[in-house]
């Protein structure tokens, strides 16, 4: 799952708080709070996220309790479980993926630059 991501939250690690990054992020562990990246996000099968998530693009195979906002493409794999609302430009959903929430697709308003914090 790791690939060449800038940041990896691996299995066996728990993160609490507002997690922000400008680079690619891979999450296989547990995250509570909020997650934001200006680049791509990959949520692995073992990941358990209780947070609102925003990213440029995302691939989700794990579980997310929170709203997902993706500026470009969101891929929900067959093992994914999403309990929250989804906003994405493009959505791809594999058979078996579970979504409990509202889904809206199409043009999204750009997020104001001052809402995006620096890296870390």
């Amino acid at each position: 799952m790791a690939g060449h991501a800038d940041t990896v939250i691996a299995l066996g690690v728990r993160v609490e708080g507002d997690f922000t990054s400008k680079g690619d992020v891979v999450i296989d562990g547990e995250v509570t709070g909020t997650v934001h990246t200006d680049a791509s996000l990959r949520v692995g099968e073992s990941a358990r996220i209780q947070a609102d998530v925003s990213a440029l693009s995302a691939m989700v195979a794990g579980e997310i309790h929170g709203n997902i906002r993706v500026a470009d493409r969101l891929d929900l794999m067959e093992s994914s479980r999403v309990h929250g609302d989804i906003e994405a430009q493009t959505l791809s959903m594999a058979p078996g993926a579970v979504v409990n929430g509202r889904v809206s697709m199409g043009a999204m308003e750009a997020q104001p630059a001052d809402e995006v914090e620096g890296e870390e």
Binding site: A2, A10, G12, V13, F19, T20, E120
Partner: protein, 251 residues
């Protein structure tokens, strides 16, 4: 102008022949300079500070990684001064990272003078070049805005370059990017079956400032020096040090 800081151990008869060859090669290359010999109770910081104030531009550590660390600590205080390294003895992992061969061949690297300006890390006010390691790490990590903790004890590395022997360049961080890299490795057994294979996770986190807080004192090794505390404050000082590297450097 060059100054060569000889560690105490390289002045033993064991290294005499190699040291003579090095001095001869440096003369051939037109790079001879002042030689300062360290002794047991002679603090390199006072010696180097004195030399730099007299207009010294390049300080070369002659010895092993411990020698390099002692010299680096002082050189970093003087912007404009360049650090060089002629590895003799062991360990010389830092030389591998910088692309500097052992012994007399290092003279040609110094002569080539490929200078990189690199970052240095700071832990509890003390500078480090390569990195920090903690073998049995069980503490809370705080990076601006969030906290991170392993669910079971693991190992932590904080890399400016890399820690210890590095078999491949993929394990080396870029010391020019203005960031440090934390690598937290944890093994986790899933379920109750004791024969079930453990799964290991390797978390990677780039950062500029981090705090470590332990419920009990945590022991870390920063560039070979052991430190124990229940709180560590780790940050990066970007573009802090000018260092001569070889073409074979690992970053």
């Amino acid at each position: 102008m060059y100054s060569y800081i000889y560690d105490e151990f390289v002045q033993s008869p064991k290294f005499k022949k190699e040291l003579d060859t090095i001095e001869s090669r440096l003369t051939d290359l037109g790079m001879s300079g002042k030689v300062v010999r360290l002794a047991l109770f002679r603090d390199p910081s006072d010696i180097i500070a004195g030399e730099v104030s007299r207009g010294l531009s390049t300080v070369v550590a002659v010895g092993n990684d411990e020698t390099a660390r002692r010299v680096l600590d002082v050189v970093a205080e003087y912007p404009g001064t360049t650090f060089g390294y002629i590895p003799l003895g062991t360990p010389t992992h830092l030389a591998r990272l910088l692309g500097i061969p052992d012994g007399v061949e290092a003279c040609d690297v110094l002569s080539g003078r490929i200078v990189e300006t690199i970052d240095m890390g700071v832990v509890n006010g003390k500078r480090f070049l390569a990195g920090i390691a903690s073998a049995k790490f069980d503490a809370r990590i705080t990076v601006s805005g969030f906290r991170m903790r392993a669910t079971s004890p693991g190992s932590l590395q904080v890399r400016n370059l890399a820690v210890g022997f590095v078999p491949s360049p993929e394990l080396v961080a870029d010391p020019r990017d203005g960031k440090l890299e934390a690598v937290l490795e944890v093994e986790e057994r899933r379920g109750w079956n004791p024969f079930r294979k453990r799964r290991s996770g390797r978390s990677v986190l780039p950062f500029t400032h981090m705090e470590i807080d332990g419920d009990a004192p945590v022991t870390i090794v920063a560039d070979g020096e052991e430190m124990t505390s229940d709180h560590f404050d780790i940050s990066v000082e970007p573009k802090m040090l000018k260092v001569i590297t070889g073409r074979g450097r690992m970053f």
